[in-house]
Structure formats: C-alpha cells, structure tokens
Amino acid sequence: AGKWDGGDDLATSPLECGMGPAAPAAPMKYDGGQPTNAADKAGKEIVVVDVPKLIGIGYFNATAKGIQDAAKDIGNVKAKTDGPTEAKIDEQIKFIDNYITSGVDGILFAANDPVAIAPVLKKALSKGIHVVGYDANSTPDAREWFVNQSPFNGIAKSMVDAMAKETGEDGSFAIVTSTFTTPNQARWIAEMQAYAAKCHPKLNWLETVEAQEDNNLSFNQATTLINKHGDKLKGIFGMTSVATPASAEAVTKAGQCGKVAVVGLATPNAMKPYVHSDCVKSVVLWNPIDLGYAATYVMRAAVDGKLKPGDTSVDAGKLGKLNVINGSEILLGAPYIFDKANIDKFDF
C-alpha cells in the first residue's frame, strides 16, 4: 500500500541493511549563515539563550541540563533556557524575537518548523547574534551550525531493526506519533518506511495515529490499536517520549506484554518500569544531555572563531571531538539503545 501516514514528502536516504557502519557521506561545502558585524567576544563572557520547541517536557529539560553543564565546564558562558509551553512555532518566534531585542550574544534553538523559524533567525544573524541549532534544524542559511543528534536515517534504522527483531520479519505494527505536522517525527517515519522497504520488506505497516504530546490520549490511542487489530498487531512504534511509555502502559494493561512489542523514542526514567518488567526490550534515544552540552560547545567555538566554515571537527569538552557533516552540521553520534542492563545508569 501507498505511503505510511505521518511521513513527509522529502527525499529519503535509507542506510545499508545489516550492522555495517554507515558509509561516510560525501563532504559538502559549508551552507550555513554567518552573523553580520558580530562583536568580537572571543574569550569574553557571552550570554546565550536557549529556545527549545517547548519547555516543560522531560526531553528538553535534559537538553537544558546539558547546556547548563557545558556552561559550567566552559566557564565564560551564561546560559538560560526559555520558550513556549506548547510546541507552537508562532510562540517560539516571539520568544526569539524578544531575545534579539534584549540583546543576547548567542541563540540556541530547536525549531518547531524549519522554514517558519528562518526569518527570525536571519534577523538574529543580521544583528550580529550567533545562532546554533540542535535537535530540530532550520533551513541551513538561517543559522551557523546545527548539532545533529543522529541522522534521521540512523534513528530509522535502529527503530526498524529493533522492531523486526522483536516481531519477526513478517510482523504487523502500528505507529503512535504526536501530530503529523511535527517535522522530526514526519522525517523519521518517512525514513523508517524507506528503510523497511529496503531491508525488511515483509514488515507490515497497519496504520499511524496522532496523539499530540498527551499522555492519556496516547494511552487511549494505543489501547484502541490493540483492541482494533487484536492478534494481528505485533508491535507499536512510539514516535515521541510521551507516546512510547503510554503505549507500553497500554500493552501492559491489555495483558499483551511479550505479544505486542513496543519500540520507540523515549527517555529512560519513564521507561524503567516497562524495561524492568520485560514488557519493553529496548528504547532508542541519544543522550539529550549530551546534545545540549555539545550545542553549547559549538556556540562557544563559533563565537571564539575556533569553528569556522570549512572546519571538519570541533572540540566538545568531555564529549571529545565531534565531526562536521553535511556542510554545516555537527554529528553527536549514533543513537543510544537503552535496555535492562544499562537503563538504571541514566536519570533524565
């Protein structure tokens, strides 16, 4: 059948099947933007504001913590996280606009919409403010650098491989996502479809349902999927850190642990009960604390002139050297798989 619901229309680049390392992408020319007439703050204290998609969820709490950790490690960065309470691009633009007026030295962002956020970021660049993105990109020329937690195709591969392993190659599964308009989720779903078509052609996608960033709605939707498909349903993908634990709870309540696999993106704390009860085998996520940490180092390096267009790597404190990919992106690393053995080591 046609496309999976919830994916986007952009071109996909599924990775190779199997465990082989990803082929290094061809080097690209720097395609980011540059601030105009930025004050030379090299080595001086800078004030940085972090405007995530929204505040008040576990994931961006973790990135914010990483940013504070990095600020402490670096010493001459004053960072603060502020943003909308709902993932609304409109609100996010207003926040960034206000911080441009209030005169910060740098802006970190995770975009609610890659294109809609561009004008205000360009405005920031034009006022000499350094702009670095993480988690969710903008159009490249609207920021200097973007810290990529893990390429979309990499996440997609991890997720689909995990699902195929748990349900068998010919299992049927459904997807619980936030909304079809959330860019990252839409990208992942599209990449997952491309990768599944290439490497697990017999996996059977049933449907995708929307559940906002709402715990109870996610739970209800997952329950509905279980009731609707009965034995046919072998797995559920949770595309957000809200949907995954809620899906796991739905599976648990339905007494389907072991029969319906839950694979998804999630933060460890919310998943511990299900991982410990063996209802969920593996949780896919990069470490968002590291993501925030890296973004802050990239910001500092950009201000100090230590990361210039054409550079191939950047120093990120305790994370070591991170590579530049796709022209103006910095790669955090491969996604992390949390399982019963290691999940208790994380607290976020």
Partner: protein
C-alpha cells in the same frame, strides 16, 4: 410635568469612569514601570516590532469584539486561520493558482467558514458556543485533511512584503491593522450596524421587534470574523514564510483574552474597539516588557493571568465607586 431633573453635568465626566480609560491608565503605569527597568523596551523599534507580532491576533480581535457584543462567541477563529493558511498554500501549489488569486481564495474560504457559522447559528439556532466549538474541530480537521499535514513553502519574494516588509518605517501589517481598527471603531460607534450589535447583545427580542435585521447582522459579523481570520492567516503565512495546518492553534483564547480585558462584556451589550485595542496592546507589551526584563516565559504567563484578573478588578471597582 417636569422632564429633566437636572443635567448630569455634576457627576464625574462619563469618559473618565469608563473601563477603557481606567485600563489605559493602568496600562500606561505598567509600561512606565517596565520602561524604567529596561532601556530596550520603550524604543520605537521594539514597539513597532511588537505591533508586527500582535497583528494577527489584533485583526481577529476586531470582529470578535462585534461578536461578543452581540452576546455570541467564536471559538473557531484559530481553526479558520489554519484552514485559510492551508487553502492559500494548497491552491497556490496544487491547483497552480497565481498567488494573488490564491490569497483571494484563502480570504474567501475564511469568509465562507465564518458565514457557515453565522448561517447555522441564525437559521438552525445553534448557540454560538456550541456551533463554533464544533467547527473548531471541523475546520482544523479540514485543514489537516486537505493538506494531508504537509507544509507549503517557497512563496515568491514579493509576498513576504506583507508580513515582513515595512512602509515608511512601519511594519506593513501594522498599517493594515491600524486602518482596520479605525474602520471597526467607527463602524461600531457611529453606524446603525454598530448600534444594532449593542441592541442584539442587550435584548435580542427587542431588537427584532424594533425591525432591526438581527439575523443578517449576525451572519455578517460571523462572516467578518472568518474573513479577518483568513486575513490573519495570509499575514501570518507571509510573516513566517510557510503554511502549516496547525497555524493559529489556540488563537481563540488569546483573542478572547484581549477582548474581555478591554471591557467587552461576555454577556453582550457592552464593549468598544478602543477597549479591545488597549487589551491587545496591554497583553502584548506586558509579555514583551517582562521578557526583556528577564522574566521567563512561564513566569510571564503567570503575570499575564494575574494582570488579567487584577486589571479587570481594579477597573471595575473604580468604575463602581465613581458611579
């Protein structure tokens, strides 16, 4: 038979006791306070930029004032913004409409969505709150269904003039808003249309028995509400260079907050455009001023909530004392 006991001149002048005037005084005091804390707040640049950012809400707040004065409400405005934005993008990209035509089409869809609200409210007599709660889901759903949740991007450069450009140093859309404020203000205060709105809000039956065209007037205001939402959508798409189906989500509460803060009675019969403008400016500048003073977004929301309650409280108790 004595007719006029005395002219009412001895009392405090009426305009001074008005909610709007008192609110304006509170607003000026708050702004002065915030301005004293922060030298970037009361600058022409910042204020004009805030004007740009509040335009979409402002555009919708004007007809919403009309609607609330008649004792109605329109909760579907945010959804109409989404639907119109989608129609703009979809007709341009998929139908291949030239952009000016696509803009007209988006406005027409907004107007039509509002018209449907008004039509069902007056003909089937569905209470406005119920009708627009239902169309809130319906229109948002149509936006999602038509667009299949895909965004539309890459509009031609000239289109961004509306949302990002300026004219004589003033943001384009702010000029548009100011013109419409004046028109709406005059229409409400000086015309039979405006008087009809007040009459409907105070006593709809009596308005009908006075041979005022109650139903047509209501259809007109809900249509205007849809049109304004469509216009807001065009401005918004131009400002943020992209069309998304979730645009305008939650606008209804922001708009209503501005209108009721401005002294328009939710029970109908009372309210002014001038009050709505003050309410609008108050919320926008309070948010902005607090942000510039270093207050974080979550705390700002709290302050806005307190301000909404307190300013209404102060204004109404002062008003009561003076009367």
């Amino acid at each position: 038979m004595s007719v006029f006991a005395a002219s009412p001149g001895r009392r405090v002048p009426k305009w001074l006791a008005r909610h709007e005037t008192l609110l304006a005084i509170i607003l000026v005091a708050a702004l002065a306070g915030l301005g004293a804390f922060n030298n970037r707040f009361l600058t022409v640049d910042n204020l004009l930029n805030q004007g740009r950012l509040m335009t979409e809400i402002g555009l919708i707040a004007l007809p919403m004032t009309f609607v609330i004065i008649t004792g109605g409400i329109d909760l579907s405005v945010g959804a109409i913004v989404g639907l119109s934005a989608v129609m703009l993008g979809y007709s341009w990209k998929t139908f291949g409409f030239p952009l000016p035509l696509a803009i007209a089409f988006a406005l027409a869809v907004g107007g039509l969505a509002g018209f449907v609200n008004g039509f069902v409210i007056t003909r089937v007599k569905v209470p406005p709150l119920i009708m627009t709660i239902a169309t809130l889901a319906l229109y948002r759903g149509l936006a999602e269904g038509v667009s299949q949740a895909r965004s539309v991007r890459g509009y031609p450069e000239w289109f961004y003039g509306l949302g990002q450009g300026e004219w004589l140093g003033v943001p384009t859309q702010l000029l548009l808003l100011v013109v419409l404020i004046v028109i709406a203000g005059v229409a409400l205060d000086r015309t039979t249309f405006g008087r009809t709105l007040y009459a409907i809000g105070s006593n709809e039956t009596a308005a009908r028995f006075s041979a005022l065209d109650v139903d047509r007037t209501k259809v007109v205001i809900y249509t205007l509400s849809g049109l304004a939402s469509g216009l807001a959508a065009v401005v918004l798409v131009s400002r943020v260079t992209t069309t998304r189906m979730d645009m305008g989500m939650g606008y209804e509460l922001d708009v209503i907050a501005a209108v009721v803060l401005g002294g328009t009675s939710i029970f109908g019969g009372a309210g002014t455009i001038w009050g709505t403008v003050i309410g609008l400016v108050m919320i926008q500048l309070l948010k902005n001023g607090l942000a510039l003073t270093g207050v974080k977004g979550d705390a700002t929301i709290v302050v806005i909530g307190v301000a909404l309650i307190m300013s209404t409280l102060i204004a109404s108790s002062l008003q009561r004392r003076r009367e």
